[in-house]
Structure formats: structure tokens, C-alpha cells
Subunit: 410 residues, 2 copies
């Protein structure tokens, strides 16, 4: 029987340091020690001690003085953005995206690698070389690298750091990606599901409150969900939170391999939408490849035609929006969140129709309408939210106060 | 923009005290100070200081000495069960259940009140009198009462402590139940959704690890879900976690008022199952009332006949189990839990067929099967899990360490 662990002074010190650092990071124009004490509830003495340590470590710098009413001008503290960096890698079936973020969360270097490499060891080598590449291009000191975050399609085994039979990565079976990549690069590696990484990125770069609560719906080759509850990404018991492929969104929809009809996997994915367009004659049924790129090009065609006013294409995408609204409502009503954030590689193309159609559809299905409306937002991170989120997770481990970090180690 | 709050020494002291008290509570045969230090990671000195305080408050007592190898015999500490009590109230459409729990979580007094009272003020008076009644019957000192936990059907407004238009409580609209009941009884009142209260009870009385992760599926007049993630009940942003009435479990099912077909609300509730039995001629179509009791009696008849070997009734309930398995799989795959716990007033009747049918059905739909099997358990609390859970929530506030309690108040 597990028992909860207690806490002690060193843990408390680390936690308060993370609270202060987060508070400085989130202040756009810098912040004074007095403001930090007010915002965090910590004593002036504690704030002074912690900021001295942060200044010593070079994570924070003094940046002028602010005159604010009578009394001594206050010294303003700011984050030193180039004091630490992290690397984010998004492993997608078609493309590997890498980003290098500085401590403020800005992307300072980006690289896209297209490969047909399915062999896990060789793919790790491709990733490792790309990592070396962006670090060299950016001219960043290796000692300033906090680590590598890798976002992968699920399922994964978070405890072991292994990727298990991801449906779209052929030849992968229980690949110990975390250990192999860490050994090859000599850097700490964090492995996370792509959807949860995206939510971490949204939370980290977001302008919402520190205790923001939202569902992140990731629209890519597959559709997945992630949950941020009061400022924490809920990753589930095994790191596999958010498998929603077999939630029924259209009782009249296509038969799914699972035995149901109209599941997310056979109705909402770009492949499903493109196939339906071909069946209904909205798109010509002459597509040669069935690979991710060929489907993606067709999906772009549908979106472009809708924007240009094509009635048939518009109807089809509006139906897709209805299906998404059923899914989103099921998630929002179950998870009791304040808002929905949509993102992922498909988002920029679906944004116009989704932001027009979804709010009213979701409001009609909101069972807690009497408590609060359900906001529908697009991601503020962009198409690379998976890679950016993976890098944010690494910064997060350095920067963000986690209540669980207070507990004594077993 | 919200900022996370820091922590300080007094907060740390309270937290560690809760960790120690929980550890003593969860030890069946008592525990020594040395074992407490090992289990919690706290220093011997800290454990000694905290247990001195707990002894002084009468929450814990010394209970003999254990000889364990060479060296001085160790003093065993045990919880003093009758040092604190709490009251749990489950407000159900048909019946109000009240329980009085001692600090060990044992039910020392129980009372059921049947009322057709729909007027909120008069219903609060009925509850208040029943509370006075069980406290008097048990002969418990008022100073030892920690408070009242009330489990209500959602939706509710947790911040305001109000019940909002619960679908089955006619005449209720934004009733400030927490404030009114607290004023009337002079006791602190905690208001929680019935499903989340049930999960709290399961967690509190359970034998699982302190960081247990499970979905609790509440089977009553309505069907609801609750989530326990690493030992914390996740109640959602507004206290309304677990609204699952419009998740589609049978694409061929009846049309729902929401526009979909085969939603939980029109397929899985006892009313839906009884109506289907009547439509198919499994039950006579001569039911006079459509109230909760009449439906409940019919549902019992179906379960009894299934147990007696009636083929038609058995087929109908097996189909209900299939629908439940679709729901449970959707929840388990989304929420990434280690196990499913079923409970609520219907559970004892459905247990035989569910425990026979569900595990294989759920395993077949488990998308993280490669990581771990999905366990299916019945509640260990029993039919009164709503009321017991509501009382546990009050004890919980006294006893259970919450990381969030470490944060400084705003």
C-alpha cells in the first residue's frame, strides 16, 4: 500500500524558487521584488534570498528601476532568455519537426526532416544528427541545453520511456526511445504523447491564468485530446491520456473496425473526410497514393475550395464541424473544463469554418451552460505545437512549480 | 493573470501532519514512529513533534508496544476512531440517505428519509432535522462533529455552493444549499456532486494505494462518472466533472432529445432498460407509475429473473452490459486509468452479470492493453456510497494531505 510522502525545507526552497521564476517569466515587462512577494504570498526576506540565487545562476537579471509613487525606485527583475535552451522533437509519421527554444519559450531555431526511415535505430540517428544540427546552427553553448523533449504518437509506456506499436509508425515495437536518444546525445530526454506535449506548449506559452483548465483537441493525421486541469497537464496513469478514436460522433456514420459506427477514427480524421468527399463526388476519385502526404494535399484542396465559396466542399466541412462539435461536447461535459483549445497541423486550414460553426453547436450541448459558457479558442502556438510543446515540457521541468515536486523521494 | 502561490513553514507543518495522520489511519494494526518516518520520508524528529501534537489533540493514542527484532520495543500509535465524526447526506430524487461516520470511516449511524417534498427550504428543514436525529441517536458530542458533506445530483455551482436545476429535482433552481444548511445546523457544509462524492468514499475506504487512479462509474437513477487520479478526486473546473449522458454507446439505439441516437441517457439508465423490456415484451407493458420507485421495482424484477435463468431477461441485461462496456471503454481510453470501479444503488443487482461480462468486453477495447490490463472492480462501499462518500469528504478535509493545501492563501 503506497503512502503519501511528506515534505521538508530543501523541497520547500526549490518549490518557492520555481514559483518566483515562473512569476518573473510570466511578467511581460519585468517585476519588482515587492510585486513578487505580493503575487506569491512569500515573505520579502524569502523573495530576496531566492532572487539572489536566481541572479547568481544567471537565470534572472536586474533590468533598471521603476518609479512607482513615492519611496525608493524598485529594481525590476527580468528573465535572461538565453540562459537556458531546450530542444523539442515531434515525431510524426510523415515528418520530424525540431525546434530550439530559449528560456522565454521563443523558437530560436527550427528544422524539418522528412524521412521514410522506419527502422527505429536509424531513425534515432536521424533525430540525433538533426539535434546536433540545430544546436550548431544556433551557436548555443552545450552547457545551456536543459534537454530534449520528444513528442510521439501513443501508446507509450511513460515509466519505461518506450514507444509501443504506434499505429502509424511501422516496424516500431516497444522502442526504448528515451534511453537510446539520451545515450546517443548525452542529454536528458523527456518522452511524452504528442497531444499532451501540445497542451503543455499551449499552457506554457498561453496568456491564460496559471491555473487554466482546458481540453486541447489535437487535429493531425490522428485526432487526440489532452487535458490541462488547474495549470497541470493531466497525462493519465500511464502517460496515455486522450485516446478518443472510438468515441461515436455520428450514429449514421461508417462502420468502424471496433464494431461501432461513426467513431472519431472513421469520421473525423483527414483521411476519413477526404474519402467521404471522394465517395460523394466532391473530390475526383482518382487519388493515386493513400499515404499521409497524398491525403493531406486533398484535404487542403477541400479547405481551399470551401474558402473560395464551393458549396459542396463547404457542406462537407460543415458536416465535419458538426462531428467535431459532438466530440468536443462529450469531452467538455465529461471533463468539466472552462474552454476548448483546438490545434495541431490541420488547425490553420480548419480554423475559419470551425470558429464560425463550433461555438453555437457546442453551446447547445453544454450541460453546465447555467454555470458558465464554453469558450472555443484556436491554439496560440501554431502548427508546430507538438514540437514546441515537447521543448516546453523540458523548460517546464526546470521552471514550473509542481506541487508534486514538494514530496520527498521514495 | 493568476500566479501560483508559494508555501511556507506553517503550511508545511500542516501538510506533514496530514501525511502522518493518513499514514496512521491506513495502518490496520497501528504503526510505530520509526515506521512512520520510513513510510513518509520525514525525519524522526519531525515525526516525534507531529505525533506529540496528534496525541495532544486526542486524534491518535498509544496502543501498546511491539517487539520487532532486537532493541527497544516500539510504541504503536493508532487512530482514535471516536475523536471526530462527520455526517454524509445523499440527496436523491426518491430518498435522502444520511450516515454518521467516525474518524476511521466506519458508519456508526444510518437513516433513510423518504419525502415528496420538493420545496427547497422545506427540504432543507427535513435534512436538518434528520441530521439532529442521527447525532442524538448516536449520542455524539457536538464538538466532535467535523461537518456535513452533501452529495447532490449535478449540475451544481461549486464556488457558490448552489444546486442548479438538477434534472430530477423539480422546483429547484440555484438553491444555495450549502449556505442555508450551514446556517440552519451551525456546522460547516461541503457540497459535492454525488458521483464525485462516491469516488471520494471509494478512495477513502479503499485498500488501494494512496495514489490510486480509477474511474468510478455511478449507476443510479442517472449514470455518472468520477475520476480519481493519483489519489486525488478530479472534480473539474466547476465541480461538475463526469456528465456522460450524451456519449453514444449504441449507434442503433433510441433517438435522444439531443439529436443523437443511443446516448447513455436513453440506453443505459434503469428507466431506459425497463422501457426496452416492456417494448420487447420481456416485461408486461402494464406499469402504472413512471416514478423512480415503479421503475426500480421493474428493474429488480428483470435482475431477479436473470439470476433465476430467464433467457429473455438475461439477453436484455447482457445487451445492457455491452452498452456499459462501450461507455466504460470510452472513459478508460480517454482518461488512461488503471482500473474501473462500479457502484451506486443499482450495482448490487447488476454485479453478477457485469462482473461476468464486462472484463472481456473492456479488454477487447483497451487501446493501452500493451501497457497494462484494465481491472474491473465492484465498489467496496456498498449502495450508500453517495452518503458515505459525502461524509468521507468532510473527514478528508480534516485528515488527508493535499498538495494544494501547501499553497499560501490569496
Amino acid at each position: 500500500m503506497g503512502t503519501r510522502r511528506g515534505t521538508n525545507l530543501p523541497r520547500m526552497g526549490d518549490f518557492n524558487q520555481a514559483v518566483i521564476l515562473e512569476s518573473i517569466r510570466r511578467s511581460a515587462d519585468g517585476v519588482s521584488r515587492i510585486e513578487l512577494a505580493e503575487a506569491t504570498g512569500l515573505s520579502a526576506q524569502t523573495v530576496t534570498n531566492i532572487t539572489r540565487r536566481l541572479l547568481g545562476d544567471g537565470l534572472v537579471a536586474e533590468a533598471g528601476r521603476a518609479i512607482n509613487g513615492p519611496g525608493k525606485p524598485r529594481v525590476i527583475l527580468r528573465l535572461v532568455a538565453d540562459s537556458r535552451f531546450s530542444i523539442g522533437v515531434h515525431l510524426d509519421p510523415a515528418v520530424i519537426t525540431l525546434v530550439l527554444l530559449d528560456l522565454s519559450g521563443e523558437v530560436v531555431q527550427q528544422r524539418v526532416v522528412r524521412t521514410n526511415e522506419n527502422d527505429p535505430r536509424r531513425l534515432v540517428e536521424v533525430i540525433a544528427q538533426a539535434v546536433e544540427g540545430i544546436v550548431a546552427d544556433a551557436g548555443v553553448d552545450r552547457e545551456r541545453l536543459a534537454g530534449i523533449g520528444v513528442a510521439v504518437p501513443g501508446p507509450l509506456d511513460a515509466d519505461r520511456g518506450t514507444v509501443i506499436d504506434p499505429p502509424k509508425l511501422h516496424g516500431w515495437h516497444r522502442v526504448p526511445l528515451r534511453a537510446v536518444l539520451s545515450e546517443r546525445t548525452g542529454l536528458p530526454v523527456v518522452l511524452e504523447k504528442d497531444t499532451s506535449a501540445a497542451a503543455a506548449g499551449e499552457l506554457w506559452k498561453g496568456t491564460g491564468p496559471a491555473d487554466d483548465t482546458f481540453v486541447f483537441l489535437y487535429l493531425g493525421t490522428g485526432i487526440g485530446a489532452a487535458l490541462v486541469m488547474r495549470g497541470d497537464v493531466i497525462t493519465g496513469a500511464s502517460g496515455n491520456f486522450g485516446e478518443i478514436g472510438h468515441i461515436v460522433v455520428d450514429p449514421d456514420g461508417a462502420l468502424c473496425g471496433c464494431g461501432l459506427r461513426g467513431c472519431v477514427d472513421v469520421v473525423c480524421t483527414p483521411q476519413a473526410i477526404v474519402e467521404e468527399a471522394e465517395r460523394e463526388g466532391v473530390l475526383l476519385d482518382d487519388r493515386e497514393g493513400n499515404d499521409v502526404e497524398a491525403v493531406d494535399a486533398r484535404f487542403t484542396e477541400l479547405c481551399d475550395r470551401t474558402r473560395a465559396g464551393d458549396r459542396q466542399a463547404g457542406q462537407l466541412l460543415r458536416r465535419a464541424a458538426v462531428h467535431l462539435s459532438v466530440l468536443i461536447s462529450a469531452l467538455a461535459n465529461l471533463l468539466d473544463v472552462d474552454r476548448i483549445v483546438l490545434g495541431g497541423p490541420l488547425w490553420s486550414r480548419l480554423e475559419p469554418i470551425c470558429l464560425r460553426e463550433l461555438p453555437a453547436l457546442i453551446d447547445a450541448r453544454n450541460v453546465t451552460r447555467a454555470v458558465r459558457p464554453m469558450a472555443v479558442d484556436g491554439t496560440i502556438v501554431g502548427d508546430d505545437v507538438g514540437a514546441v510543446g515537447a521543448a516546453c515540457m523540458v523548460l517546464d521541468a526546470v521552471l514550473t512549480p509542481r506541487a508534486s515536486d514538494l514530496f520527498l523521494a521514495e
